[in-house]
Amino acid sequence: MNIVVLAKLVPDLVEELTIDANGNALDSSFARLIINEFDDHAIEQGILLKERGGGSVTIIAPDAEGADDVLFTAAAKGADRLIKIKGDFSNVNNHALARAFAKVVSGIKPDLVLTGVQAHNDLDGALGPLLAELLEMPYIGYVSAVSINGDKVLIKKEYPGGLLAEMDVQLPAILGIQAAEEPPRYVAVSKVRQAMKTSSIEEQDASNLDPCGGSAIGRMFQPEASSHATMITGSPDEVAEKLVGVFKELGIV
């Protein structure tokens, strides 16, 4: 089983985000990047599948600050092959990214491609389904369990309210992972360092970054709360007293 996992980096929301001078994109020079958390689950799911049924796992990430770290961390978890796509990916949309990935992925001829179901900065759809259509593979998103069954995979797809649908998908296919079957594992720093010594990152150039199909953003801004809560202040005692007052008003006390 030849498994490919796509991983992208997104701005870390722990930091304050800023808008660039043009006012229509995030200021990428200030942002600290972190692996898209759903991609982290996709990597874990890929490794789990390999551990369960063998095969190889290739991780592909677009070049960005921290991409090497993401790749070596995946290698420390058990990924076999690491590929970094070179190019300027700052403020590139998912359509362009998907086209860049399509070229690299088709060269690998994977049986199964996993990626995070979404990223918090998606503005033109998700990477997985875009790539799936470019490669003419079937796609299912919101997946939280995967088992390989010959030339098919049986997956569980999450719906609201805890309902799951079990679906059969013909391989090769792309899955958008909502949650791996096990939470992403911890990798000791020493293991990552070891991976840096023992594994290497292949670099491939992104041919053209064609953003066609995305939508132009005219303005980006930080939301100003249209309304804001009435803040209740004071010591814990006073606050509790006032809250009980609210409860009384609402007739539940």
């Binding site: 304050e16 594992r185 000791a188 720093v189 020493s190």
Partner: protein, 658 residues
């Protein structure tokens, strides 16, 4: 004329048999010792031959004088009585051998005669009695009192305990009987100098010869037989501690308690199988006498009973002797829950009479768990945050100095200007919303004392003390590298820390060149008060008790400075029953504060709060560690003692008294 008549009533065949038996015993004994040593040698190398002088001194005070054993009244008297009883009898036997088999045999004279012989007889009689008393105390405690700490995880150990005590008792009793029978028959004029032997003789005089002679010979033979048996079995029973413990004491670590040894393998994977322990760690397991003192003081054992340092040692010792049966060190012998339970408070090692270094083995095994990714979700989150942001709170480093914002006079940025004191604030004091008020008071006290100090702002990272003790050595190294590189660019004379955990690692584990002098803020305050730089206007007059943070007290011996500061604020200090090096850990150390809490009857912090509350008239629990504050403030709530006990940082007293 009083003279020692060796082999009285012993026919030649019996004497010869004794020598043959002695030879066999020696062979078995030597085989047993070699077998043990060979096992140690399967461990990894560890250099322990430095500072021979210091090692010999400790050997004298701890193996001969047994000061640590004696620190507990009952067990101390018991063990010293047995120990000295046996030592005296052994010396007696050696003298007798010398007298008979050397001086008498080759030179035709005996020194065991006249006054010396009388003194010899009296001394041995008294020490024999001492041995009997010690054995009686041991038997009473082990089989009648049956304290929990002596209960064994499996019955073979109990048989071993009983065997040793039983044999020693039998040897002592038969020894007296043989002496008594000899006196009964020969009735020497100096018999009164063997009071016990003489008293026993009185019982037998009526029996008369030849019965007494026959009895004497049989009992003598039995005495010899069991004595040699015990000697031969020494390397195979718990009595082996007679050899192992002094060896272990001699080789115990002389580096500061706060310096943990680095992993031996380059990839920091820790210990997976027992042969990856060092010979010294294996010797630790073999030295355990199962006395249970560690278990009595262990906060993890007190709260969950999952982890007992004593049982860990027992299990490890048993494991290294197991025939290849597929049992794995991890999970089969030692579970992850046991390893994660440890708060690294070091109370166990502090009381261990055998000088076992429990933590070095525990952390080595934790290192393996971390390398395998076997960490609970909360710990994983904390470690990921520490790796990413340099703090366990998962907040941006830019927020690290947010607590300084309300302070009107700006705190120097030690990276930009030279300072005398570089204040290493630490994670909890910087980020925990409930602690920043205390941190801000610390800053204000420093300012009022006119201290030239600065902080690292967003340049500071978690110091790594507990990261290392969790077993994440790679992350520890990364944190150290980052801190060292920032410190290297600063100009300062001394480092002062808020957190005893940071204090410990910066002082004992950071590269020397970067850490000129490291002070805990309580030490600094103590100096400032002594020099008159910090003066108090008020005497607070509170009645307080003080909790010694593990990493300040036990790890670094800072007991007096905080107490002097408390006194200087005009508070009356009442000690808790467990204080100083016996202080009971709050349960947060060694990364426990980042982990999931196990289901417990009583958390260590709750036990500690109850201990403080039970003190008459004390209404404030003072400590000097941000993690302690966090734990105790919570415990005061969960035990319903909010009205009765306030938890305060030492700095709050100082601030109030200014």
């Amino acid at each position: 004329m009083p003279i020692r008549e060796t082999f009285w009533n012993i026919p030649q065949w019996a004497e010869t048999a004794q020598y043959v038996l002695g030879f066999i015993t020696a062979v078995v004994f030597v085989y047993g010792i070699v077998r043990r040593v060979m096992r140690w040698r399967q461990g990894q190398p560890d250099k322990r031959f430095d500072h021979i002088g210091a090692r010999l001194r400790t050997l004298f005070t701890q193996a001969i004088l047994q000061l640590r054993v004696a620190s507990e009244a009952y067990a101390g008297v018991m063990h010293l009585a047995i120990f000295w009883g046996i030592i005296a009898l052994l010396i007696g036997t050696a003298l007798a051998t010398l007298d008979w088999d050397v001086t008498h045999l080759f030179f035709g004279f005996q020194f065991l005669k006249d006054g010396f012989y009388i003194g010899y007889e009296l001394t041995l009689d008294i020490f024999g009695l001492l041995l009997m008393i010690g054995l009686g105390m041991a038997i009473y405690r082990r089989f009648i009192l049956r304290p929990k700490r002596l209960q064994n995880p499996w019955p073979t150990l109990t048989r071993d305990d009983a065997y040793v005590l039983g044999m020693l008792t039998l040897i002592a009793i038969t020894g007296y009987l043989v002496e008594g029978l000899r006196i009964a028959v020969t009735q020497p004029s100096w018999a009164n100098w063997s009071p016990v032997g003489n008293a026993i003789a009185a019982l037998f005089i009526a029996t008369g010869d030849p019965t007494n002679r026959i009895l004497h010979l049989s009992l003598w033979s039995f005495h010899i037989l069991i004595a040699f048996t015990l000697l031969a079995s020494l390397p195979f029973t718990k009595l082996f501690h007679i050899a192992a413990v002094p060896t272990n004491i001699f080789f115990h670590s002389l580096t500061p308690a706060g310096t943990l040894s680095a992993p031996r393998s380059a990839d920091s994977v820790g210990v997976k199988a027992w042969k990856e322990f060092t010979w010294k760690q294996i010797l630790d397991f073999e030295s355990c006498t199962r006395c249970g003192r560690c278990q009595d003081v262990c906060p993890a054992y007190a709260s969950t009973q999952i982890l007992s340092p004593r049982n860990m040692m027992i299990k490890l010792e048993t494991h290294i002797w197991e025939k290849a049966n597929g049992r794995q060190l991890h999970s089969d012998v030692i579970t992850a829950d046991e390893l994660w339970g440890c708060t690294t408070c070091r109370a166990c090692s502090e009381v261990c009479p055998a000088f076992i270094d429990h933590l070095s083995s525990f952390v080595d095994m934790r290192r393996y768990l971390v390398a395998e990714g076997q960490v609970d979700a909360q710990l994983q989150k904390a470690l990921a945050n520490l790796g990413r942001y340099g703090n366990s709170f998962g907040q941006s480093e830019r927020m690290r100095a947010k607590w300084t914002q309300p302070i009107t006079s700006k705190i120097k940025d030690a990276r930009r200007e030279a300072v005398e004191y570089l204040w290493f604030v630490g994670d909890y004091a910087s980020y925990s919303p409930t602690l920043t008020e205390i941190t801000s008071k610390t800053a204000q006290v420093f300012q009022k004392a006119g201290l030239d100090f600065g902080i690292l702002y967003d340049g500071e990272r978690n110091a790594g003390n507990d990261v290392r003790r969790v077993g994440e050595e790679g992350l520890f190294e990364t944190l150290v590298e980052k801190n060292v590189s920032v410190l290297g660019k600063c100009s300062y004379k001394k480092i002062v820390t808020t957190d005893p955990h940071s204090y410990n690692t910066v002082k004992n584990e950071y590269p020397r060149s970067e850490t000129s002098e490291v002070l805990h803020y309580t030490e600094l305050l103590d100096q400032l008060i002594a020099s008159g730089q910090l003066k108090f206007n008020k005497r607070l007059g509170y009645k307080v008790t003080y909790h010694d943070p593990c990493y300040l007290g036990r790890y670094n011996g800072v007991y007096d400075a905080p107490r002097r500061v408390i006194e200087a604020t005009g508070c009356e200090l009442v000690e808790m029953p467990r204080h100083g090096d016996r202080a009971f850990c709050c349960g947060a150390g060694g990364g426990r504060i980042w982990m999931k809490e196990a289901e417990v009857k009583e958390r260590p912090s709750e036990a500690r709060v109850r201990e403080a509350v039970s003190l008459d008239g004390v209404n404030t629990l003072v400590t000097a560690c941000p993690k302690d504050i966090t734990m105790f403030r919570d415990a005061v709530k969960t035990t319903g003692n909010e009205e009765r006990l306030a938890v305060k940082d030492l700095i709050e007293l100082v601030y109030a008294a200014l």
